[in-house]
Amino acid sequence: MLQFLLSGVAIGSIYGLIGMALAISFYVTRIINFAQGQLMMVTVMITAELASSGHPVWLAAAAGLASSCIIGILSYLIAVRPILLSNRFSFGWLVSTLGFAVIVENAAAYIWGPTSQAFPPILNSISVPIGSAVLTAQQILAIVTAAVLAAGFEIVRRYTLFGKLGMATAADPEMASAIGANTTVVAIVAFAVSAAFAGIAGLLIGPTTFANPYLGDTFGTYGFIAMMIGGGTERPIAAMFGGILLGVCAEGANGLINSQASDWFPFIVLVVILIVSPKGLFSASNPLFRPRRPASASR
């Protein structure tokens, strides 16, 4: 039981990071970047490529993260901004970000081939017994990294001027520009940060999944579920809680139902949670008490 719980939290931290990545770009621009999973894949592929050609792992990982950030910014400039400029309320980004995802994925499959490549093990070979359960050091690293990043994001959002500006841009982009904010720059930073979150998730899971160009599909979907059940559309950090819940459910289903159950069980969880709580479980700081928005907030 403890084993399911702990490995669920570990994989859930990864889902949560991708969920937060989706939520961060959604928070500022109100669009969902369907290429988020592919941004994670880019980090994994570049890191694997550089590590296997003899570069030190830390350098490979840094280069992988940087590539994800660059492609994340490109996804905003190519697939999102032109659409929002022509019509701020258009849903064209649904198709354009999905198209961007397909292009990135196929480019990766073209470059590296459709099969998995080796990925540096990082800390995957060290086992740590915790009570009756055993985790790899890599899993513990995932949990700790996710906790640090989630807390760090929340601190920046609440207590720094840039975080407050992000909140202002999220709430009312036009008014944010009327106080002197360059909302394009804010959006670019949000997309870069969100690509970095996805990339870090990739570095944490890479040793387990190895480097595969289609990695983005699965993890993008699980990240999306994490965001939806957590309520990341309202508060980015809620996606992390959603991810951990999802991870525990999936691992639990694998262990208690059968070894394929994690393929379908999370979707049932998603449906049930969205029926019970359409905005996600953790969209308000207290899940049982959701204050109505004040009347003056509606325009």
């Binding site: 001027l161 500006l165 202002a168 009312d172 008014m175 009327a178 004040p294």
Partner: protein, 242 residues
């Protein structure tokens, strides 16, 4: 009080609107340094569109808009907002999930590296509206309408702009709150601020402003002074204001 030789805001032959047609046409107006000018008119006359055009918030605009010596007609909004013009917009549009103080500090975004100046500006806002200082850590969504309007005016002051644009600051406020807002605008004038005030209430406009423009159907149709309004111009105004 007005210095007509060097207007702080000069608008000439401005047409602006959304989509295919212009909401306002051929607008010309000036605001002198230290002057307060009102734009009066019924709903839908285009008053708000004039303010939004000055801030660069309207997609299509043609004609000249100059603030001080800067031609802002082709500047993006965030550049105009950095010390040239600032707006207390219609509906106040505070950042409701943030505190009063954070709303004010965000107003001074372009001055963020000059902490002493931000401090001075913030203190001057609290001097103008002492009640805000006691609410500084409260979420702005928890304030009354009058208090929210004070925050909106305060946020506008925080960027230390050349010209301040106020869009119906008296709307939907109690008489007491209207009085506080009017006194605040008079105090701003004493401090030398230049104001362009959009109003539907003639009494508020005549108490605060040196000159009044009347708008109807997207055009400026009259220009008068508060004295003319008091000595019979009211009937002309009533014709337009309905």
């Amino acid at each position: 009080m007005s210095d007509q030789s060097a207007p702080i805001l000069e608008i000439n032959a401005l047409s602006a609107g959304y989509g295919r047609f212009d909401v306002v046409r051929d607008i010309g107006l000036t605001v002198g340094k230290g002057e307060a000018v009102a734009l009066l008119g019924p709903n839908g006359a285009g008053k708000t569109t004039v303010l939004r055009a000055i801030m660069g918030l309207v997609k299509q605009r043609r004609g000249l808009i100059r603030i001080g010596s800067t031609d802002v007609s082709n500047l993006p909004t965030h550049r105009i907002a950095r010390g040239l013009a600032a707006i207390a917009p219609e509906g106040r549009r505070l950042f409701l999930d943030q505190s009063v103080e954070d709303n004010l500090l965000l107003g001074a975004l372009h001055l963020r590296h000059d902490r002493a100046r931000v401090e001075r500006l913030r203190n001057s806002v609290y001097e103008l509206f002492p009640v805000l200082e006691s609410y500084r850590h409260r979420l702005s969504s928890f304030l009354s309408g009058g208090e929210q309007q004070m925050v909106a005016i305060g946020r506008m002051l925080m960027s230390d702009p050349e010209i301040m644009l106020l869009d119906e600051p008296s709307v939907a406020l109690s008489p007491v709150a209207v009085d506080i807002v009017v006194k605040a605008m008079l105090e701003l004038r004493k401090r030398g601020a230049s104001l362009l005030l959009v109003e539907q209430r003639v009494d508020v406009a005549t108490r605060v402003c040196d000159r009044l423009y009347v708008m109807a159907h997207g055009e400026i149709v009259e220009e008068m002074t508060p004295d003319i309004v008091r000595s019979g111009g009211m009937s002309i105004l009533n014709k337009y204001l309905g």
